[in-house]
Amino acid sequence: MREKLLYGAGLAAFLLLARNILVIADLPGEAAQGAIFKIIFFHVPAAWTAMVAATAALTLSILFLKTKDFRYDAAAVAVTEVGLAFLAANLVTGSIWGRVIWGIWWTWDVRLTSALVCWLLYAGYLMLRHAIEEPTQRATFAAVFSIFAFIDVPIVIFSIRWFRTQHPGPVFLSSTGSFPHDWTMVLLWNWVALMLLASILGAIRLGQEETQREIDYVRRMAHAL
């Protein structure tokens, strides 16, 4: 059942993504920036997906601490890893875009820095997990760390509203936004596709984590007997 669901979702994501890419390729280039502008259709949804993943990680971590149920822990790892990948996609696309538009790969403004720091924090989460052997301790410490790490997410989101940055200001969901409506729809659809993709990746990772736990259990019992 779960397998079938995964395959179905995978197919849907693939089709949606293919359609979106065709639509995006068809759009005319933006007036000032030309074709490179189209990177926004991946840059922004990737960031949003990562933020959603971070929020999910926070929720799952709190749930783990409340219930001590290891399934939440496994889900938190899966979600964090996927979110990290999408945040990396955001960083890379942003860098490429910046290279073309600004002429530099990187600049230290609040948006870019906070996004990088966010990535570092969640990478730290994974390293912390690797450094702890005892499963209960690993899950607990990682959950606590994840809760702390979430502080950076609102800063990433609001940095362009709070502070003057070199990074473009808000263009969606704000009164000053100047994004054509149909383009917004394309972007939203692409977000749906990426979210779907993220969910599938997350489900696969979760499956792996759970299988790993079962294997561990069986191996332990084998040792004990």
């Binding site: 924090l121 390293m127 450094a131 702890i132 209960t136 301790q137 410490f141 760390f145 709070w162």
Partner: protein
């Protein structure tokens, strides 16, 4: 009452052990001076903008401070002292607050001695907005202390403590440091906190409140799970 008493007992113990030889504070201060000198090579020219110097100051505070903070729980390791603390009828929150307060005082002392030295080395008239600066120093230091202490607890028993700790701590500290840097940068120019900088102050206060609350709640999980 009982809670406050226990916090005080823990704080007194840490302060006593640390001040048994005043060298700890001396050395941390000397280290601050050394970093000041090192950084002076990077920002060589005499006409560095004042706001940048504010940033410099907090970099020094962060490096010198974490030196003190790292030892906070590490001190409990050699004779398995942490066992005895965990075995004692004292809540994780009291233990944490006691240690955090002791650290706060130590770091503050180092900073207050380093401030005039900084003023002399970099020709900064830092006394112009004395009380507002003190406010920022206290808020920033408390932020650094809370994070440093809680992460010291988090990493005390894991492999690779020495590397993991700074790697996890500094990114987490960035929002607080950033706020403190911006505020200090503008305060040393003589301008009081105004509508432009008050966002940073809010950020700083928010950071302190949020993380103190989170730490006090979560430290119990870290210490005994």
């Amino acid at each position: 009452m009982e809670f406050a008493r226990l916090v005080f007992v823990i704080m007194a113990k840490d302060l006593r052990a640390e001040l048994r030889t005043k060298e700890a504070v001396n050395a941390s201060f000397a280290f601050a001076v050394v970093i000041l000198v090192l950084l002076s090579f990077v920002v060589e020219s005499n006409d560095v903008p004042l706001p940048v110097l504010g940033g410099l100051l907090w970099l020094v505070f962060a490096f010198a401070g974490t030196l003190v903070l790292n030892r906070s729980f590490a001190r409990e390791v050699p004779n398995d002292c942490l066992d005895a603390l965990i075995a004692a009828p004292i809540s994780g929150a009291a233990l944490f607050l006691g240690k955090a307060l002791a650290n706060f005082l130590l770091v503050l002392v180092v900073e207050l001695v380093a401030l005039p030295v900084f003023g002399i080395f970099y020709n900064v008239r830092w006394t112009q907005q004395f009380w507002q600066l003190m406010l920022v120093v206290v808020l920033g230091t408390w932020g650094v202390t809370v994070i440093g202490t809680v992460f010291s607890a988090l990493t005390v028993n894991i492999r690779l403590r020495e590397v993991m700790l700074p790697m996890l701590t500094y990114p987490m500290l960035l929002p607080a440091l950033l706020g403190a840097m911006e505020l200090t940068g503008s305060l040393v120019t003589g301008a009081p906190i105004g509508p432009e900088t008050v966002t940073w102050l809010k950020l700083l206060i928010g950071f302190d409140v949020l993380f103190t609350a989170a730490s006090v709640t979560l430290v119990e999980f870290i210490l005994v799970g």
